[in-house]
Amino acid sequence: MGNANGREEEVGNGIEEDESLSLTETGRSNGGEMGLSYNHAQVPGRVASSESMGNIIDDNNNNNNNNNNTPPHSPGRSPSPLLFAPQLPVAPLQRGDGLPFFNNIWQNESQGVVDQPLERAIPSMITWNYGGNNVAVEGSWDNWTSRKMLQRSGKDHSILLVLPIGIYHYRFIVDGEWRYNPDLDFAPDEMGHVCNLLNVNDNVPENLESVAEFEAPPSPDYSYSQTLPTEEDFAKEPVAVPPQLHLTVLGMENPDEASSSKPQHVVLNHLFIEKGWASQSVVALGLTHRYQSKYVTVVLYKPLIR
């Protein structure tokens, strides 16, 4: 993950500078993992700095899962190595005045545009690629009262805004002139001026083109000669379910939690069955499927006719 790389670089810097661990200097509250805990531990033990650096790197990797030094997690609990938090384009990490970033991007930090601090605010990037020296943006998020300068890198200007979900109108002021970006969504606002539209959503829709269609491979020819299972086969323990299939929407008790986490593709189109109701006469069948870029889990309760 991008964040992890950032942290490791800083750890590297720390070794060169040979100060008490540079991690404290960043002032970020990444502190969750990076350790207020072991910072305190290291201060008296400066002598063992190389060893402690080694520990830090190990701890770092622990957090990034699948390090051979750590005891293996039980299969039911280990996160899939391929599981990433959804990636959003983010501004390059900055020191000092940059926004603190966590592993979980959806923390509630804001630049002061949020009118209700308890609402979830989502970072969104606004860019201007048509040159100019001074580019600022103003928008309906604070009723057009303030202008924010964009940061320039070459011909491109950009800014990261953290806003509650909704639709906003905004305009660029390029060297004193009102402009809009014709490549992005635009619409006239209430006063008839043309503005760009920013749609801040709390989920990132799938890029459907990137989901390759999957043709299931045909069964290998030699499998057609398998005999039907015998009593002996039924007496054996059933094959273990692959661990990824434990991570289903069905297993989630809390409906709020279920609706905000996207199911992994690996659990789609598998039929789950739940038995063991009091009367043993009802089963629950569960299936998660994809419809365009959204996911639907349907649970059907069916009587079991004996």
Binding site: S140, W141, I165, G166, I167, Y168, H169, D189, E190, N203, P205, V249, L250, P255, A258, S259, S260, S261, K262, P263, S279, S281, V282, H289, Y291, Q292, S293, K294, Y295, V296, T297, V298, V299, L300, Y301, K302, P303
Partner: protein, 382 residues
């Protein structure tokens, strides 16, 4: 404005006009038309796919499940409506809702349980839907239409939001399943979502909240717009439906069915709001199979509500979260914002301080006002 229309609680709320006896702002007709036009445009250009959450879960029931178990499932899953699937037909054929439970209980109560214990165990949803309700339709005034429907009211993911909202209003239902037919001949249904007015309102609110000047009507206080059901000020022979806490459960259920409302405020002797009894509260009777052990006229609604509350509920009888309240001076956009929360279907309008009930404003009231229904409906749905 115009003359007072007395409110009769046995009608569903419709547009009312009454004499303003206080200094309330008058709404301008152009404000209203501009707002309605913009909302109508928004609803016509967005479709039901937007209502789907990124990852949603729906519970469906096989139509051959025994009714008893179906209600246990509704209760345990914390839902109040579930679509019904018929394996033989390979289609979704209807929904099971709290209203069905209420009707079954009433029927059992009134006939002194003609069904034996064993029959009650095995009485299926299909049998109930086919036969059990027919004799009741004759006693329904204006709501009987909802029970004689032979097919499921549903919508597709590409239907526009306006059509979905109108379907909900015209069929007087709370939810409309969104179903996608994935094969060529439309024979394989894929259940996607249960659309409700709450979800549509959330879309509207999200879209317009940062450009409030484009919907001027939203700034108006709700007492100045013809929206909601209000306790009539002038003495009227037909009271606004309310109940005391010691009213019997059977009286509450009878009132819910007869008045065609989805909830009734519970008030004390001064008319101050204590709690609210909704149709969906009936599923709490599935807890510990209480419904089999009680007689409806011997249980008070207070006891029935206590059943539904967790032991951890800190509020005791009066739970501020259950009864969402607002003031008559609150602007419409504030009311819409509160109604856009899932699970909130109505706000009770109270007097500041005393909590005296002044009226109720519900999701369907807001939509009827915003769409100008039923006067300005474009097309008719069956």
């Amino acid at each position: 404005m115009m003359s007072l229309c007395p409110r009769n609680y046995s009608y569903c709320p419709s547009v009312i006009i009454w004499q303003s006896d206080e200094a309330v702002p008058r709404i301008s007709v152009t404000d209203l038309e501009v707002s309605r036009h913009r909302i109508s445009l928004f609803l016509s250009t967005h479709n039901a796919y937007e209502l789907l959450p990124e990852s949603g879960k729906i519970i469906a029931l096989d139509v051959n499940l025994p009714v008893k178990q179906a209600f246990h499932i509704l209760y345990e899953q914390g839902i109040s409506v579930a679509p019904l699937w018929d394996f033989c037909k390979g289609q979704f054929v209807g929904v099971l809702s709290a209203l069905d439970f209420i009707l079954i209980l009433k029927e059992l109560g009134s006939h002194g349980s003609n069904l034996t214990e064993e029959e009650l165990e095995t009485h299926t949803i299909a049998a109930w839907k086919e036969g059990g309700k027919l004799h009741l339709t004759r006693t329904m005034d204006g709501n009987g239409a909802s029970f004689s429907r032979r097919h499921l009211v549903h919508a597709g993911p590409n239907d526009c939001l306006k059509d979905v909202a109108l379907k909900i209003l015209q069929n007087k239902v709370a939810t409309v399943p969104i179903i996608h037919f994935s094969s060529q001949d439309g024979s394989v249904p894929q259940l996607l979502h249960l659309a409700s007015l709450s979800g549509i309102l959330k879309c509207i609110y999200r879209y317009f909240r940062h450009s409030s000047s484009s919907l001027p009507i939203l700034q108006q206080p709700i007492c100045s717009i013809p929206c909601g059901t209000w306790v009539p000020k002038i003495g009227d022979s037909k009271p606004f439906a309310m109940l005391r806490p010691n009213a019997s459960l059977s009286a509450a259920l009878a009132l819910l069915v007869q008045a065609g409302v989805s909830s009734i405020p519970i008030v004390d002797d001064n008319g101050s709001l204590l709690d609210i009894y909704s149709r969906s509260d009936i599923t709490a009777l599935a807890k510990d199979k209480v419904y089999a052990q009680i007689r409806l006229d011997e249980m008070s609604i207070l006891e029935a509500l206590r059943l539904g509350q967790d032991a951890n509920s800190p509020h005791g009888v009066f739970n501020g979260q259950r009864c969402q309240m607002c003031l008559r001076s609150d602007p419409l956009h504030e009311v819409m914002k509160r109604l856009a929360n899932p699970g909130v279907r109505r706000l009770i309008i109270v007097e500041a301080g005393s909590n005296r009930v002044e009226g109720i404003i519900s999701l369907s009231d807001v939509f009827k006002f915003l769409l100008g229904y039923p006067d300005f409906v474009g097309h008719h749905f069956t």
